[in-house]
């Protein structure tokens, strides 16, 4: 079974090719079922590989399958090879598992869309790229997947490209990701340059690091450049700006790519290179931890003031990814992967739940026009509430255990980072409670909101709604739904959408049990990941270990405090909501970047463009013109007149004779 690991990415690739060839003929919904089947089959293979790996001893849990030699260039030899080890198979398990659930969900969500088969085409291509990314045996295969998921993310964010905002958001994601890709490429170049013999394979790089072949400076450079790449892909400060905008894509995309899988690629990369990070300078991991903590806090504050149901979840994702980097920076790789897995469960659940709400509300995303939906959408409501409890850190739901472990390691690293993590946990509980109350509880606002908007909405708002309404119309026109656009009664979603919700809700409840803090025998994930992280994993100090139950108690108290605060404000109306405009605008960070890049940045780029057009191109065109002029003069010699040529030959002979006989005196 281990040798079949190549099947894991090959199956979605087959799905991609089949849909490429027959997608239109299969149509809606058969193309969707085909795509789902492929990813589900891939999941079954992954389970098979997983079961075999579990049976092996710690040292044996690493298997390389080489498909073919990809780049054989003298001393550099890169294979297209797959590395099946606990880390890659863990990633594959939830990528294919959650992936197939989301594919199934999408067959319901995208039902009636004019480009239905194209959506699944991209979705399968994404699954393939993501699996290449995690299964790659070397940095180059990972890079292939890395760029592949980036491209699919672009295609899928701007899937409804008729909408100006979706097209722009796609471009923004792509361009921002390029900045991060530069970092990853630099890390690759450094790793290649520093290894002897040159290699890009993870095993080679990590062994070189473990055996001390890297100087501290080199290791730091590789780790920090890889972290720049991770910042781009995993939406950390200062490159997070694309992720909130990426919510323009269809909701299954947000759940799959921008919550569960692709955005965790950065965390995966850092964990993969943990031996390098281990031998790099102390400040490298501190930078990572600080950036992670800062992102977590920053995004959580912004999420508090968002009114778009998906924007809240987007900022929440940025914040949770910050937690994962805080864990990486604290040397808690197991905790990072643990949180990645539980986050994939509950965030995919929350996104799919929000998608179900949006679907039921006929593409309404503003939470101010929802409310009391638990009565009309009971399954969505119950599963969403489970997701909420998981992310808010209420035991025994999944999120509590992983977040608690990260906070424990952060405390060991620095109490300041721990405090930032706690505040973030408080805000997380607060904004998620706010969302649940605004969407599922309180007064039903979906009817009066529309009446109000029709009658006396202010101009700006009315315009905004008109734009939204238009987009929704486009979609709803193709929507073969029984309800017209006029009737705004929310309805529960069909079973292909509810089944994934139920499964994910189950996983969000029990997901935390793969790693429980109570006894060493319960650290199942840690034992499983041991061969991957043994080099870099930080071992808790005794002081922190003793405090573990106290910290756990504090975390529970903080979570409950956040929830009760939100209940008091939004359900009981004991206090007025504090939602400063600056938070709703994301601390004006986006606007500041736009202003800077639109003003001085624009001028600088214009200058560069001018230099390029006049100086660089001038030199190049000048050289070209010179050659062209000389050539057009020289071609006159080719008169086509045979007698002239003959005369030339004769003159040449005479001149040679003169040279040899008279001047050199040959005769």
């Amino acid at each position: 079974m281990l040798d079949l690991v190549w099947l894991i990415p090959a199956l979605p690739l087959t799905g991609f090719v089949l849909i490429l060839l027959f997608g239109r003929r299969l149509g809606d919904p058969k193309a969707g079922y085909l795509a789902t089947t492929m990813v589900a089959a891939s999941f079954l293979v992954t389970v098979g590989v997983f079961l075999e790996l579990v049976g092996l001893s710690t040292e044996e849990r690493r298997h390389v399958v080489t498909a073919f030699s990809w780049v054989p260039v003298s001393s550099l030899h890169v294979d297209l090879a797959f590395l099946a080890d606990p880390l890659s198979i863990t990633m594959c398990l939830f990528v294919t598992g959650i992936g197939s659930l989301i594919h199934l969900y999408a067959t319901g969500y995208m039902h009636g869309d004019p480009r239905f088969s194209k959506f699944f085409l991209y979705l399968n291509l994404f699954a393939f790229s993501m699996l290449m990314l995690v299964l790659g045996e070397n940095l180059l295969v990972t890079f292939l997947g890395w760029e592949g998921v980036g491209a699919c993310s672009y295609f899928l964010i701007s899937f409804w490209h008729e909408r100006e905002s979706a097209a722009t958001a796609g471009k923004k994601a792509f361009v921002t990701n390029r900045v991060g890709d530069w970092g990853l490429m630099m890390a690759m170049f450094f790793a290649f340059w520093a290894t002897n013999p040159h290699t890009l394979s993870y095993i080679g790089i990590n062994e070189a690091a473990a055996e001390g072949h890297f100087s501290t400076t080199t290791a730091t450079a590789i780790a920090l450049f890889a972290f720049v790449g991770a910042c781009g892909k995993s939406a950390q400060l200062p490159l997070y700006i694309w992720l909130p905008d990426a919510m323009e894509g269809p909701t299954p995309v947000s759940a799959l790519i921008h919550a569960a899988t692709m955005v965790t690629a950065g965390v995966f990369l850092m964990v993969r290179l943990n031996p390098v990070l281990h031998v790099s300078a102390e400040y490298a991991s501190t930078i990572i931890a600080v950036v992670g903590a800062a992102t977590a806090l920053f995004a959580a504050t912004v999420a508090v003031a968002q009114n778009d149901i998906k924007k809240v979840l987007a900022y929440s994702t940025v914040s949770q990814l910050g937690y994962m980097f805080l864990a990486v920076g604290s040397g808690a790789y197991v905790a990072a992967i643990f949180h990645m897995v539980t986050h994939a469960f509950f965030k995919a659940l929350l996104f799919l739940g929000s998608g179900s709400v949006i679907h039921g509300m006929h593409h309404e995303q503003d939470m101010r026009r929802m409310g009391a939906l638990r009565k009309v959408m009971p399954v969505t409501a119950i599963t969403f509430i489970i997701g909420w409890l998981a992310i808010a850190g209420v035991p025994p739901f999944a999120g509590f255990w992983s977040k608690d472990e990260i906070l424990l390691f952060a405390y060991d690293k620095s109490p300041v980072l721990y405090a930032v993590g706690l505040v973030t946990a408080l805000l997380t509980a607060y904004y998620m409670t706010r969302q649940v109350i605004m969407v599922f509880y309180g007064k039903a606002r979906w009817n009066d909101a529309h009446a109000e908007h029709g009658a006396h909405g202010d101009v700006v708002e009315a315009d905004e709604h008109a734009a939204d309404g238009h987009a929704a119309d486009d979609h709803a026109a193709a929507h073969t739904d029984d309800h017209g656009h006029g009737a705004h009664t929310p309805h529960e979603s069909p079973w292909p959408m509810l089944l994934p919700l139920v499964v994910l809700a189950g996983l969000s409840i029990v997901g935390g049990f793969i790693q429980l803090p109570f006894a060493t025998s319960l650290h199942r994930l840690e034992h499983w990941l041991e061969p991957v992280v043994e080099e870099g994993e930080h071992h808790l100090s005794v002081a922190a270990d003793d405090l573990k139950y106290v910290l756990m108690g504090i975390a529970v108290a903080i979570g409950l405090a956040g929830i009760s605060a939100a209940v008091l404000v939004y359900a009981k109306h004991k206090a007025k909501p504090i939602e400063p405009q600056i938070l709703a605008d994301g601390w004006k960070y986006d606007a500041a970047i736009s202003a800077f890049m639109g003003g001085p940045g624009r001028a600088a780029f214009d200058g560069v463009a001018w230099t390029d057009a006049h100086v660089v191109d001038g030199a190049v065109n000048g050289a070209g013109a010179l050659v062209k002029g000389a050539a057009s003069g020289a071609r006159k010699v080719q008169s086509g007149n045979v007698r002239t040529y003959a005369a030339g030959v004769a003159v040449g002979v005479v001149l040679l004779l003169v040279w040899f006989v008279l001047l050199r005196g040959v005769l």
């Binding site: 020289a634 086509g640 007698r643």
Partner: protein
């Protein structure tokens, strides 16, 4: 008694050869008919052949005569190709001179 006929020396042959070569070269440069051009080239080749034979006789070295055979064979091959081209051109444009055949000029 008939006056003694002077015995031809190698110089005579070389002078004849130079004259023939000069005739051929001038012909190539001033004539425009492709066929005549061809004959002039043959003239030049045979002038060179004559030089070879003359020197071979004078030096008692058979190498020169061997070279002449090579030149003849190559000339025959050249005639086959060249005449083929000339016939093909004249069949298409009966009155063509070499000056008209300047399609490949730069």
């Amino acid at each position: 008694m008939i006056a003694a006929v002077p015995t031809p020396t190698t110089t005579w042959y070389l002078i004849l050869s130079a004259v023939l070569f000069a005739l051929g070269m001038v012909g190539v440069m001033i004539r425009r008919n492709p066929l005549v051009l061809f004959m002039c080239i043959e003239l030049m080749l045979n002038a060179v052949n004559l030089t070879f034979v003359a020197f071979a006789q004078r030096l008692g070295d058979v190498g020169g005569q061997t070279t002449v055979f090579f030149v003849m064979v190559v000339a025959a091959a050249e005639v086959v190709v060249g005449l083929g081209i000339v016939v093909a051109i004249l069949r298409r444009r009966p009155s063509a001179t070499t000056d008209d055949l300047a399609e490949l000029k730069g």
